[in-house]
Structure formats: structure tokens, C-alpha cells
Symmetry: C2
Subunit: 442 residues, 2 copies
């Protein structure tokens, strides 16, 4: 690994990676070699362009010089040489004097991605785009973040489940549903694991978690929507209200951000200019109605006919919270029942409101959580009230007919979290392979 | 948690769970209460069936007695009472004298799953089936196994990726492909993350892993096939051959089985009668042709026209290996090119064979691994040779045109691993919600 070179003593080494840059000067050649861990400068001091009968090493030096001259960006090579520490070398303070160079796979010379290529060109050539160190860092961050979350769940004794993505009916609503030809019938792609993670509660699993794909046939082209995304889901039993879900949520977020900051904080600052902050607990909590009053008092009236917030309102309440409490996170709570799904539990004292919340991170919603209605009569009535057909939901409603504990949970979009953590302009930048209405390739 | 009761001193406690059994005797009532951690006996010594003006606690005892009489299997309750240690109680050596009982959600009395219900009835009512302690154990084992694997990857610096399940074209073959209506066009569900995990190699990610769903429109009804299953995938760069992949594979398996044995070994023995063995490294390795000779010498000629093994042959070579080397695992290596996908690398000295392997566990194949062909000219020629259209594969072939290191990896079916580890008869028993040609519900 290239990152380990600086700690090694001078002497023979062998490294592999791809060519990031070649400086082919008259008397010396430099190659910047990169692997997933970093970059190092290679030096060929023995440049010889033409055979020289006076030079006993002519047979070695001429082909080596030519090989380096012909190296294209992205070509994968393996190099043997002498490691030398040299303070004047900016790149890590070491360089390698090339003895032998082996071309493993030659790259085509016409790199289709330029420094100033737009996002669509970069996505067309995502595998080249991902070679950039800052893109690689995104997925290191993702790895660390998810592992930290899973450690919290494991420590709490939660069970990891894999719910099916093929369903016989809609998971939440008929809208934005992908249909699949399923033998002689039709299946649908799960929009969320909602029903199936609640099944685990009826099954007595207690706490569960899942990190997996979710699908929405959403025709929009915003910076925060995709037709396929990674959903982080958890659900737990024997809660008193959504406040218990929010506590778990905080614990997960703090563990995830802290792990990322510890492991990648410096790199994030260097590549993205972001000084990551581990949030303090508890996160500020504001009932939605109050949040709307706050942004109204500050001059913004949410232009919606329904009771919901809009993205601009979320940005403004987040700015308010950041200024007042110094927090990048804020829970908006007590959403109106009219804008929540039928399975959210209503307030015991005010059935117009739900035991639910959204989590806002740096001004954008990343998650919805709630206590679920577990009383079958109430649940069924709420489904009918929302215009749903209980017959079609019967497989789900059955979960509640044979006993289920009070429970709740949340779903959170991984790509949104990464986008907001690294302050990127679009989830396209932080998704391994983005999927949208016009994009199924590569 | 019920499992924590035994370690507590006698005194007041509060527990929640579901009713597993009620013994409603004339002068005493017993309830077995279960949660995800275990079961405990509740006792009502104050049985009073009719109001008794002489008994000052009549108003409390009569309704309590009636509540317990009416408890149905699966009803979720919360109980306050006195914990008492009592060696004569088989269930954990403790019982709880009930003070107060709260019915949280009443279950319908007609439990549709009986002790002797067949697998189809149990799958229809999977959430009830999953309440059985041995079913719950399956998913505890799954959780521990996956976490142990991820820890190995994390320790090795591997990157976790989430590859898209929606694709513009087939991932491996046109056969067994699910079609999705995708806006005005068609998408396909990924049969494996094969192409996308190889993309990470071209992107310079080094080592990567993914645990996620894969989809096969396979109309068969065997005990080891599903239309949707969880695939464990990994891929790594700069290998010398498939032997490097096999080493990683061994390391992962050993870590996974060791963690499961340590954490759940006793429970597995109790519920499944299986004494789990942590395999010794290296696993036995037998070239496929030799394996066929061995089973032939032992009296079984594989009845296939092609060069492949069949399930019976796999069972026999596994029995041979178990007897000769004491190993539950065996690598069959060097598969014939005719029965391997176009992207498997061929032997340098014998292009009829591939740098590939299958991993057999207790007689059944759980995984295929290989070194991948990374030389574009060779890869393209092999695709054409297999009758594939390079134009349709262009997005994939492009990965190799701009440089890629030598690499390899494997895909492994999680459900098969669990089935074989716990010696279950079908993956239906170890899949949270099985999906087959006739099964999309619940």
C-alpha cells in the first residue's frame, strides 16, 4: 500500500497502482502513481532515448524510458525500485527510483472525463470519476458510517434482517411504484421495508435493522431524489412513544458522525473543506406547527396548501436552529395526520397530530420516524380514512391480529446523509451508481 | 429483558412479552411469557373466580383471574410482580408472582399455525412461525455471522458499496431475468452485483464488499433456490490468481463460523442438535476433474453431458472429504471454461480450464469465486465465444479499456450458508420472507 511507504526505511520496494500523471522531461521522467490508499512519485533518472553502445545498460534504459513516455493516464502498472526519503518531495516526502516497470493494463489515451466535465459526463464514466481521491473518500466515509451504526445495533442486541424487495402489493402507496413481470403475474418493488420491519415486531424480534435498496418510480430530477437508493431502517418494540425512537436515532447519528470524524476528519477537511462536527445530544426538537411559526416570524410563509413544511422552510428552520442552538440537526415533531401515512400513531389527546418526526440535517430532511399504530381496529380505520383498501393490506393487517407490542422506528436515506455530511450539491456525487428516470447506465 | 431475570435479586419486576402458554388450574394459574431473549413463568396464586365479600382483595383478584383465563396465545402483555428464585422451576429457575397484568394487544384465539403445520402454512403465517425460539435463533445467527464477516473486511480496509439492482441490461445472462417497467422503457433486476463490483476494481477501490439482494427468475422449486436471495459479495485487486480469493474466503468463513459458535453454539446444539465446528485452514482443495474421478471410483458417475458436477456428486465428494480430512468445507477448483461465465480467467497454460472454484459446505455449493479476466482483448473474445453481444456489454467492457488491475472475488448465498450451518432442510426455513415462483406473500 502506498500509504505505508512513508513509514518504511529506504530500500527496495514493489508497488502497484494506476498512473495519475507523467512528466516526461529531457533528462528525467516522473510518474505519479496512485492506489486506493494514496499517491507516490516514481522517478526514472536513467533516461535514454536512443540506443547508446557506450552505455552498458542501454538495453534496459531505452525500453524503460520508452515505456514511461507511452504511459497513459489510468494505466495500471507494477513497479520495483528503491524507496528514498526526500523532504523536498511534496507528495509524502518519499519517492521511488524505478528499477523495473511492468504495464499491467494499458488505458486508452483519450480520457473522456476532464477536470471541468459536468456531472452527466462524469456519471457516464463513473468508474473513472471514482478514481479521484475525494470520490474514493466518500465511500470510505460511507463504510465507516455504516459500520459505526451497525456496532450500535449489535451492542443493543438488535437483529439484522433482509426484507424482500419483491412484493405482491404496494408497500405504502400506489404512486411511484415499479412493476415487475413476475412469471404469469405482476410484482412490485418495495418502496421501503416498512411493512416487513413491522412484521418483525409482531414476530417478537424486539429491535431490528436493515440497510438495503428501496425503489421509487419518482419522475423528478432534484438533487436529492433517485429511483433507487439505500435505505437505513430500524424498528424497536416496547417504546412509550416516538421519543424513544428519537433517542435511538440520536445515538446512531452521533456514533456514525463521531466515527467518521475520527477516521476521516482531516481528509474531509482537505478535500471538501468541511470541518465535521459531532452533534451534541439531545438534538433540538420543535413541533412542526411551531417551526412554521418561527420561519413565518422570520419572514417566510410556507406556500403549501397542506400542513407540511417545504424544502425552503426546512432550510430556514435549520438555519434558525444552527444560529440559536449551534446544531446541524433538528427534529421536527408532531406532524399533522393529514400528511402522514395511515400507520403513524396519532396523539392520544389530539388525533389531528401524529407521534412522528422528521430529522433535518444541514437544512434537508434525511429521515422520517414514528411510533406505529399497533391497535388493529384503529389501524384499519386509519387505512380506510386514507382511502386504502383493507383487503389489499390484509397480509399486513394480519400482523396486528395476533398480538404486537407497541413499536416504532425510522427510515433514513444513506445518500442524503452523505451528501449533507460532506456538503455536496447532489446525491449523484455520493451514490456509487446513481439511478434516475433517464439514467440506468452504466 | 427476560434473559436478565435470573441474575437479579428477588423483588419487584416489570416484564413485557407475548403469551406462549397458559395453564389455568383450579387454584393457581401459570403463564409462560416470552420475549426475544427468552421465556419466564408467571404465577397467579390468588385465583378467585367469583366475587367474595369476605375477601378484601376480591375486586382485584376476580378481574385478574378472568384476564388470565382469557389470555390467548400470542397476546402481548406487560406484567408487574415479584421475582422469586425457585430451583424447582425448570424455566430458568425463577418465576414471577403476578401483581398486575396489562393486556397490550390481544391475539385472535385461532392460531393458524399448529405444531405440525407444513412449511407452506408456516410461510403463510411467517410472523407467527418466527416467534418460535429456534426461528429467532436463525436470525441471531445471521446477525452474528454477517457482523463477523464485515469486521474482517473492515480490518482489511475494504470499502462497502451498494450497487444498483436496476440495470439497463442483463448482468450475466439473458436467462432468468426479471423485467421492470421503467418509465417509458424497460429495466432488469440485477442477478448479481458482478459487473458493478468489478467496476470498483477499475475505479481503484482495491477491496470491496456488499451484502444485498439478488434476483433470479428461476422457476424451480428446489430446497436451495429462491427468486430473491441475499448475496454476499466481495472483490479484491492485485491478486496473483484465484488462490488469493480463496484465502480471503477462508478467512471470512472461519471468522463467521467462529463468532457464531462462540455466541450461539449452545443454543444451536439445543435447538437444532448441531455441534458447530470451526473449520481448520486451509480447506481441502480438489480440482473438479479429480473430484469427478474420486466419486466415480467410489461408484457414482456424474450423469451430465457437460463438464459440471451435479448436486449428488457434490454430496459425495463432500462426504469423501469429511471422512478423509474431517472438513465440512471443500473447494472444487479449475472448472472447465465451457461451464463458466465469459469473465472468468482461463488457465495461462491450459485455456480449457478457468482460475475458478466453487465452495461446497456440508455437501452443497454455497459460492462461486474466480479470478476475472482483465485484459480487454481476451475478455471481449471470450464474450463473443459465449455467444454474447459485445455491443450490449459495452458499458461493462469500457471498465477494462481505461486500465484495471488483476482482480477476483466471489459471490456467496447467505441463506444457503445458514441452511447448511444449521442443517435445515430448505432455505425457506432460514429466509426472513421466502420468495419463489408461487410465493410473494406476505
Amino acid at each position: 500500500m502506498i500509504k505505508d511507504l512513508a513509514a518504511r526505511a529506504d530500500g527496495p520496494v514493489r508497488v502497484s497502482g494506476w498512473v495519475e500523471k507523467v512528466r516526461d522531461q529531457r533528462y528525467v521522467q516522473f510518474v505519479v502513481l496512485r492506489d486506493e490508499s494514496g499517491a507516490v512519485q516514481l522517478v526514472n533518472g536513467g533516461v535514454l532515448r536512443e540506443p547508446d553502445p557506450e552505455n552498458p545498460r542501454s538495453d534496459i534504459l531505452v525500453p524503460r524510458t520508452q515505456t514511461i513516455s507511452e504511459l497513459t493516464h489510468g494505466t495500471f502498472i507494477t513497479v520495483s525500485g528503491e524507496l528514498q526519503h526526500n523532504e523536498r518531495v511534496k507528495l509524502g516526502g518519499v519517492e521511488i527510483q524505478i528499477d523495473e516497470i511492468e504495464v499491467v493494463t494499458r488505458a486508452l489515451p483519450d480520457n473522456p472525463v476532464a477536470e471541468d466535465s459536468g456531472i452527466d459526463v462524469r456519471l457516464d464514466w463513473r468508474f473513472l470519476d471514482l478514481r479521484r481521491p475525494e470520490q474514493h473518500l466518500v465511500f470510505q466515509v460511507q463504510t465507516t458510517f455504516l459500520h459505526a451504526l451497525r456496532q450500535v445495533w449489535i451492542d443493543r442486541g438488535f437483529i439484522e434482517i433482509q426484507t424482500p424487495k419483491l412484493m405482491a402489493s404496494a408497500s405504502e402507496s400506489r404512486a411511484e411504484l415499479f412493476e415487475v413481470d413476475y412469471f404469469d403475474g405482476t410484482a412490485f418493488l418495495a418502496q421501503s421495508p416498512q411493512f416487513f420491519k413491522q412484521m418483525a415486531q409482531a414476530a417478537g424480534f424486539g429491535g431490528i435493522f436493515e440497510v438495503g435498496p428501496a425503489f421509487r418510480a419518482d419522475p423528478s430530477f432534484t438533487s436529492r431524489h433517485a429511483t433507487e437508493f439505500t435505505s437505513i431502517d430500524t424498528e424497536l418494540s416496547w417504546i412509550d412513544s416516538h421519543l424513544d425512537v428519537m433517542e435511538l436515532h440520536e445515538e446512531l447519528i452521533v456514533a456514525g458522525v463521531a466515527a467518521v470524524k475520527e477516521r476521516h476528519g482531516e481528509e474531509i477537511l482537505k478535500h471538501f473543506g468541511v470541518e465535521l462536527e459531532v452533534p451534541a445530544r439531545p438534538f433540538p426538537r420543535i413541533p412542526l406547527a411551531e417551526a412554521k411559526e418561527i420561519v413565518k416570524a422570520e419572514g417566510y410563509e410556507v406556500p403549501r396548501a397542506d400542513a407540511d413544511m417545504d424544502p425552503e422552510g426546512e432550510r430556514r428552520i435549520a438555519a434558525h436552529v444552527k444560529q440559536k442552538y449551534g446544531s446541524d440537526f433538528v427534529f421536527l415533531t408532531d406532524y399533522d395526520a393529514s400528511i402522514r401515512p395511515f400507520y403513524h400513531m396519532r396523539h392520544p389527546e389530539n388525533p389531528q397530530l401524529t407521534n412522528s418526526y422528521d430529522l433535518i440535517y444541514n437544512g434537508t430532511e434525511i429521515s422520517t420516524g414514528a411510533q406505529r399504530e399497533h391497535r388493529i381496529e384503529v389501524l384499519e380505520a386509519q387505512a380506510v380514512e386514507k382511502g386504502m383498501d383493507p383487503a389489499e393490506l390484509s397480509f399486513y393487517l394480519d400482523f396486528f391480529r395476533y398480538g404486537v407490542p407497541p413499536h416504532g422506528g425510522f427510515g433514513m436515506g444513506l445518500n442524503r446523509v452523505l451528501m449533507l455530511m460532506l456538503q455536496q450539491s447532489s446525491i449523484r456525487e455520493v451514490t456509487y451508481l446513481f439511478r434516475g428516470p433517464n439514467r440506468l447506465l452504466p
